[in-house]
Amino acid sequence: MGLHNGDKMMRYEEWSKLARKASKKSLWMVHFCTGCGAVEMPPVMTSRYDAERFGITSMATPRQADVLLITGYLTVKTLRRVIQVYEQMQSPKYVIAFGSCTINGGMYWDSYNTIKHLEKYIPVDLYIAGCMPRPEGIINAFIKLMKLIDEGKARGWEKYQKYYDRYKENQRRVFNFEIKEEQKEEKNEEH
């Protein structure tokens, strides 16, 4: 079955709609255990909250997974590994970021080595607020993600392809701790 014109053939849009409907029920995740959010994952997965009843299960390698969970603050050194993991995953892929640390730095807002806004370096489809979010919050986020996938709104991976140069430029700057000259001058005048 190809993508020919004709009423009998389903158009690409309709095929992807069907694919989304199917894939939202089997979200396989790879959780990148940084920070304190990792301790919230075992209760989500095990018998008390039993995330598998929603089709959510953890996967051994990023190449088999659909969802990347960033479970807390990221240092620059860890961010490099996160990006390696993210780029290994197959599209369509989604990112859920946990807690206030990934939103704006959280309690590490003035630290010299933690990144403050995760979405500057990789696209994030969903944030869970809290420090740390409870298992109910995590499951709630997955259900919200399923809804977004169904409606075609979880398109962070397309954004990463579209603005790849800008993401790479941001990543390069943070990996080399590069401060631009005009930034230095501006901020020195304030002091």
Partner: protein, 156 residues
Amino acid sequence: MKSIELLGKGEEMHGRAYIKLNVNELEEAIKKLKENGFNHFVMLSCIDWLDKGKFELVYHMWNYEEKEHAMLSIDIDRNNAVMKSMSHIFPQIETYEREVHEMYGIKFEGNTRLTPFLLENWPHDPPMRKDFDSKKFVRQMYESIPFIEGEENEGI
């Protein structure tokens, strides 16, 4: 306390022995304590005394028989921060020296492994020094990186 008796100086501080030494006495003191039951090297810590112009290095050692914690403290010059490596006495000191080198910029002579430890590609001043302005650095470094504004429904 046993360590104070052995070295002939020092004072008790919150249940621990605090022994202030000159730089050239340190090696002998660590060896002497190691021979007398202080066979656990706990850690090496560093304090930046900015107003005095000194770095204080504290070598923590523990005795299992006496249950005694000894802290050997030395001062080195802040502008010429060079210290002799003690890793030939306890091998694990090498790693602590590596961390102190990265965070405070102190050079340890004789340590061949002073490579980047927790920070990668760090071109600025050592971050744990008191004159490193962390908030200013965050403003210049992380807050100057732009957000990537997509169209509607393109994810955050």
